[in-house]
């Protein structure tokens, strides 16, 4: 095995991993603020990708504008979902919240299937296709743009949670709802905000994945399940953990795909993150950066 191959795998892993980070951040935001496990994250991602694709190809809107319209749409979708579906379930049993997101996922997926069919739709080329050479390795420009885009978004989110009033209020809600309420923070608004931010970052992830893969189809939904190993590795309630975890899982996936797949005729790439999930749960269940508050009963 030569170095170029390894580096190529590392770069692929880094780029895919950064998108995992983004989607996982959306997941963690919802979990932190509302303690709901959103298993429809992958469908959020798909909605973003399909809406943007639709604007680009059917309505010939330039990429930047369609990107922004998609984000606005996703934000509204997040608000709508929180208001109609999640709010009545505040305080109900965990299984209800898990199941409601699974139901939501199947609704979103079904609607997309009805509108766009199940076959892969090619994504128009947004970024120039000539690869850039970094040292000896050719890297496609789409990858670089994706990486830049993710970094900007993650920085913005970090700044938002650190300095913006709403961001601080959200953190307060996450740490203690009762106290947050007594400080005059509207917990309901924070829940709505969490869902809408999460929908927006997932949509960005979806669009980036669409441009990188060159097409969108129903398999994008599985990306939503890939965030589970990521958030478990990083710690369920840590945004930093989601970012680091995403990159690690992306790299792990690509390395195992590159080195182990030839040995067993493929398939390792897809299960490696889940094997990692089980191992992490066994040995470090609170993840790298999560709060150690798992009850051992």
């Amino acid at each position: 095995m030569d170095m170029t191959f390894l580096l190529q795998l590392l770069i692929n892993g880094l780029v895919v991993g950064s998108i995992y980070s983004l989607v996982a951040t959306g997941f963690v935001i919802i979990y932190k603020a509302t303690s709901a496990l959103n298993l429809a994250q992958g469908e959020f991602l798909m909605v973003g990708a399909y809406i943007c694709l639709n604007l680009l190809t059917k309505h010939n809107v330039p990429f930047f504008q369609s990107f922004l319209i998609t984000l606005v749409f996703s934000a509204l979708l997040g608000l709508l979902i929180e208001r109609t579906i999640l709010r009545p379930l505040i305080g109900s049993h965990l299984i209800s919240v898990i199941m409601v997101t699974l139901g939501l996922g199947s609704i979103l997926k079904a609607l997309l299937q009805m509108a766009y069919g199940t076959s892969t739709i090619p994504f128009p080329e947004v970024f120039p296709s000539t690869p850039v050479r970094i040292g000896p390795i050719p890297v496609s420009q789409g990858y670089l743009y994706a990486l830049v885009c993710v970094s900007i978004l993650v920085t913005l989110l970090t700044l938002f949670f650190k300095y913006a009033k709403a961001g601080v209020a959200m953190r307060a809600t996450a740490s203690n709802q009762q106290v947050a309420l007594s400080m005059g923070i509207s917990v309901k608004k924070m829940f709505a905000l969490a869902w809408s931010i999460s929908a927006v970052v997932s949509a960005v992830g979806g669009i980036l994945l669409g441009t990188i893969r060159g097409g969108v189809d129903m398999s994008l939904a599985f990306m939503g399940l890939k965030v589970l190993p990521v958030v478990i590795l990083g710690g369920l309630d840590s945004i930093l953990g989601a970012i680091v975890g995403g990159v690690i899982i992306g790299i792990l996936e690509n390395l195992s795909g590159g080195y182990l797949d030839p040995l067993v005729n493929g398939g390792i790439k897809e299960v490696a993150p889940y094997i990692a999930l089980i191992l992490i749960l066994m040995f470090k269940p609170y993840g790298l950066f999560g709060k150690r508050k798992i009850e051992r009963v």
């Binding site: 299984i95 209800s96 898990i98 199941m99 996922g105 889940y274 009850e295």
Partner: protein
């Protein structure tokens, strides 16, 4: 007609079918059920068989999730383990089906307990994630372990035979499945009159108090995983005999989600609810198919979106039930029954 409870012993209080009329009605219902194959078409029998298998699986899941409070998204994988163990035992060792099915259940129960071990360390949503991961790992192993599972191509099941009787059509399989269903329902109902069953409920309601009361959490959580997986594995084995060909694609993650939907819609923590949910969710696509074919003359595009339509309706139903009737159809059934029991004088 019963308008109140007057029991003079604990045994009378614990009885499953409390009045003579209930007992007669249940007996008549079972007789009716077993006479179904004489007059139904093979399509209806096929649907009926799938309902039976779904009932067994849903009872299994309900024991774990509804009664013990441990969330499992790995049910499709457990069904697959049951199906492929039955297939392997039947093909490789030529065992008859009446040994294969219980043995497949045992294998699944052991696997279930292995997956259940982390449930002692982790709970709630972590367990949901661990079982989901287990699903993908099992799926991968089934595809790769070709010498046992036949890989992607899967296995073709031998015809189940007992002596000279070959269960070679849906009608005969129907009896096999429904005998198991009746046994499963009775076992399920009785389980929660026994010590382990009550321990499960105690763990669900408040694990720490249960431990203080002397419930051994390790033992009973593993037992719950074992019993639940035994049911699910049996359902998988029956499915193998019913479908005749099994492959890894027979058990996608959506099977597990459907089963969770069954117990949500039917009623968590209720054996009757598992039955309602299984019947309802299995009939749902068939009903939708009827409607879409009927309307296909005027809306031809409906047929092409059929599978999405099924998912859409499933999702909507799950959400509607969770919001408006979280205790499921079983609770609705009880309230309707109670209303009519005292009919003009209910208060």
């Amino acid at each position: 007609m019963q308008c109140g409870d007057f029991n003079t012993s604990y045994a009378a209080d614990m009885t499953i079918f409390d009045t003579r009329s209930t007992r007669i009605l249940v007996f008549l219902f079972v007789c009716l059920l077993f006479s179904v194959p004489f007059y139904s078409t093979s399509y209806l029998l096929d649907v009926g068989n799938r309902i039976g298998i779904a009932i067994i699986g849903a009872i299994g899941l309900n024991i774990l999730t509804g009664f013990t409070g441990l969330i499992s998204l790995g049910n499709a994988a457990f069904m697959a383990i049951g199906a492929f163990s039955a297939g392997y035992l039947g093909i490789r060792f030529g065992l008859p089906f009446y040994l294969c099915i219980p043995l497949a259940g045992m294998v699944t129960a052991i696997m279930g307990m292995v997956v259940g071990i982390p449930s002692l360390r982790i709970k709630g949503l972590y367990l949901a994630m661990a079982t989901l991961a287990a699903h993908f790992i099992v799926e991968f192993l089934i595809i790769k372990w070709e010498s046992v599972t036949g890989g992607v191509a899967g296995l073709t099941m031998p015809t189940p035979t007992m002596g000279t009787i070959a269960l070679d059509n849906d009608r005969k399989i129907f009896y096999l499945i429904y005998i198991v269903v009746v046994a499963a329902v009775l076992f399920g109902r009785n389980l929660f009159r026994t010590k382990p069953g009550k321990a499960f409920i105690a763990i669900r309601d408040q694990a720490i108090s249960a431990e203080v009361m002397g419930v051994n959490l390790l033992k009973y959580k593993l037992m719950s995983f074992g019993i639940s997986s035994y049911f699910v594995g049996t359902a998988g084995a029956l499915m193998a005999y019913q479908a005749k060909i099994i492959s890894p694609e027979t058990f996608p993650i959506t099977v597990a989600i459907d089963q969770l939907g069954m117990i949500i819609i039917g009623g968590m923590g209720s054996i009757l609810g598992s039955i309602f949910g299984a019947v309802f969710i299995t009939l749902l696509p068939e009903l939708l198919r009827l409607v879409t074919t009927a309307m296909s003359a005027s809306y031809p595009q409906l047929v092409t979106v059929f599978s999405s339509l099924k998912e859409l309706v499933f999702g909507v139903l799950v959400i509607v039930f969770l919001i408006f009737e979280p205790s499921g159809m079983a609770a609705r059934w009880h309230s309707i029954k109670n209303y009519w029991k005292l009919y003009p004088f209910s208060h």
